[in-house]
Subunit: 198 residues, 2 copies
Amino acid sequence: MTSPLLEQLIEAFRVLPGVGQKTAQRMAYHVLERERDGGRRLADALAESIERIGHCARCRDFSETETCATCASASRDVQQLCAVESPADRLVIEQATGYRGLYFVLQGRLSPLDGIGPRELGLEQLATRLATGEVQELIIATNPTVEGEATAHYLAQLARNHGVRPSRLAHGVPLGGELEYVDRGTLSHAFGSRSEMP
Amino acid sequence: MTSPLLEQLIEAFRVLPGVGQKTAQRMAYHVLERERDGGRRLADALAESIERIGHCARCRDFSETETCATCASASRDVQQLCAVESPADRLVIEQATGYRGLYFVLQGRLSPLDGIGPRELGLEQLATRLATGEVQELIIATNPTVEGEATAHYLAQLARNHGVRPSRLAHGVPLGGELEYVDRGTLSHAFGSRSEMP
């Protein structure tokens, strides 16, 4: 390598998800050869975001303000609360559905072996919120994984304890998929949960 | 999106090669959730590299010093000069071969339609260097594309004009490949250039 700084830059790029040595090299060369302005903007945005983006005090999603725009909005339905594992999940639900309620971002899932319990997921905060009586329905949108399901059961119990109706996203065959390629677990579940056609 | 800053960060990540909206989102979330320290290091490395990395005055490769370490080294063979299109090409040759000569990085290839001529590739500088009589062999390692071949022919002529022997990387069937999957052009070339077995 001709430049120790360049070596350091390549190493630094490897912090990004899915970026190995080769891709990091490509990124460093690309920025230096063709995108110095863009690279400067990226460096600034990165430094400023890390400095200023924290978590919303109400929903725990990323926010640079005390309360995020969604939680502060007067046009959202406060009777519905949707619990998701991560900010990315919140984003896809917001983009794909017409949901107008509020969110609660767990920032993880129950995983006792990794030391992630109710406290780490902010469930005390969620319980306090459910206790106010404002929320009617807790939509549980954790991932359909073993840990996500365990978290879902825990949340459902928490909701019931506060007289809130828990609901869960439907499981089944994805739209536009072919049965042949759907995994057995999903197919078996979809078969068992079949509904009468109108 | 809950945070305009986050939106800006995602947009900034898209400057990287092969990074679209989805990957940029994943990178931004990953850095904010799990890698704030690494992200800070990346921002610093990026800003500093863009600020300080320029081109070596001798070989045109990236360098933060006037002359890069390779060109400044006393242990390299000054009689061999290898011309490559990009710093990445220089790097793979350095890593894959035992080459101990020097390099000349064109930072592109002849492409009149894009306004890239001999001047943009620093060929005057290369000519001056070949004229000193120090270089015995110019190893032309431009890519085996149409433009790379055109550049190779131009460089070979330049070398001959200064009494320097031009050479070109061998073309043929890649090691470990299967003939069935080699493209026709390569196979036809390899067949025509077959050599007698010892």
